[in-house]
Point group: C3
C-alpha cells in the first residue's frame, strides 16, 4: 500500500513537473517576451490591445515572440464570454497568445452581479492581474499598456 | 566659536545622513518595489490605483513590497485634500504606501485656480512626477500604470 | 566596371554606416533615455505627453536626456499636420526630441479615410509603434506612458 502511494506521489510530481516544463517551453525560440496590459473600460482599447498583439506576431513571427495579455479592473470585459472580440481571441490563442484574467476583479464583479461573470474559455484566471504582470516582468517580459 | 560651528555643521550632516538612511530602510525586507502611476482624470482610475496597491500588500505582505504612488497631470486630483478616497489613502499610508505629488502639476494648477490646490497631508510634493518615476526605476522599482 | 561597382558599394556601406553612427551620437551625453508613448485619443493626453517631454528637458538639461515620443492607434492624431500642438512639436524637435509615427496605424487610417493622413513634417514613420518601443527599450530607454 505504501509502495502504491509513493508511486502515486511520484507520478503526481512527474505530472506537475511536466506541466511546468511544457509551459516554459511554449515558445522556446522567442526572442522577445511581451506582456500587454488592459485595465481600461473603453471598447477601442480592446481593439487596440488585440491589434498590438497581431502586429507583434506579424513583426517578429509567431515563434519568435511570446505575448500574454493580462486583464484587470474594467479591462476584464475583453475576456467576457460574450465580448465581440471572441473570434479574434480564438485566432490569437491559436497563434500562442495567452489571456490572463484577474481573480480579484472577477471576485469584485461577482459581488456586484450576484454571480461570477462568464469568461471566454481561452482566458486563464490568475490570482491577481498585477501580481501576474510582476511575475512575467521577473521572467524577462516587457510590460506595454496599449 | 569656530568649534561650536563645526560641531553644529557636523550634527547637521549626521542628521541629514540619518534621514536618508531611514528613508532607504523603510522596507528593508521588500522583495518587490513597485511605482504606480496615476495621470488620468477619471475617478475610476483613482479607485483602481488604490485597489492595485491593496492587492500588492495582500499578495506579498506589507513588509515584502514597497509601493509608491506618483500622481501628475489630471491624476493629481487623487491627492487633493477633499478627494473621496482620503480614508483609503490614510489606511494605505499606515501600511507603508507612499504618495508623491508632482510640483510642476501643482504649479500649473495654481496658475489656473489662483492658489495652490490643498493636498492630502500624506502626499509628499516631488520636483516632477516623471523625474520621481525615473529615480525610482533607477532604484529597482517596476513602473505599472493601472 | 567591376572596380567602379565596388567603389560604389563601398561608398554605400560607408554612407549607411555614417548614418547609423550619426543617429547613435545624437545625444552622446545623455544620462537618461526615455520613450514616451501616446496611444489614447484624448486631446489632453497630447498636451500631457508634450508637457512631460518639456519637464524632462528642464529637469535633466537638453543634452543629458534623450526623449522619443512614439504614437500609435488613436494617439497618432498628435502627429497629424493640422494638430493644434504643431508649434510645440517644432520647438521640442529643435531641442532634440524625436517623434515616431506607427506605419501600421497610418495604413489602417488610410483604409478608412481613402488616403493617408497628412503628418507633421517632424514625425518619422516607423514600421510599427510597438516594435519601435521594444527596440528603444533594448537600447536602454525607459518606457513611460503619460
Amino acid at each position: 500500500m505504501k509502495k502504491l502511494l509513493s508511486i502515486f506521489l511520484f507520478l503526481m510530481a512527474v505530472g506537475s513537473g511536466y506541466q511546468v516544463q511544457a509551459a516554459e517551453d511554449d515558445k522556446p525560440f522567442a526572442e522577445e517576451r511581451i506582456v500587454l496590459q488592459i485595465s481600461d473600460p473603453d471598447p477601442f482599447k480592446q481593439t487596440l490591445v488585440l491589434n498590438v498583439a497581431s502586429n507583434l506576431l506579424k513583426a517578429y513571427g509567431q515563434d519568435k515572440v511570446d505575448v500574454e495579455i493580462v486583464a484587470f479592473g474594467p479591462g476584464l470585459r475583453l475576456m467576457f464570454k460574450d465580448n465581440v472580440n471572441s473570434g479574434r481571441i480564438q485566432t490569437l490563442t491559436g497563434s500562442g497568445v495567452k489571456f490572463s484574467a484577474c481573480k480579484n476583479t472577477i471576485a469584485g464583479m461577482a459581488k456586484i452581479l450576484g454571480h461570477e461573470p462568464e469568461l471566454n474559455s481561452n482566458a486563464v484566471p490568475v490570482s491577481a492581474g498585477v501580481v501576474r504582470i510582476i511575475e512575467l516582468q521577473n521572467q524577462g517580459f516587457k510590460l506595454i499598456k496599449p
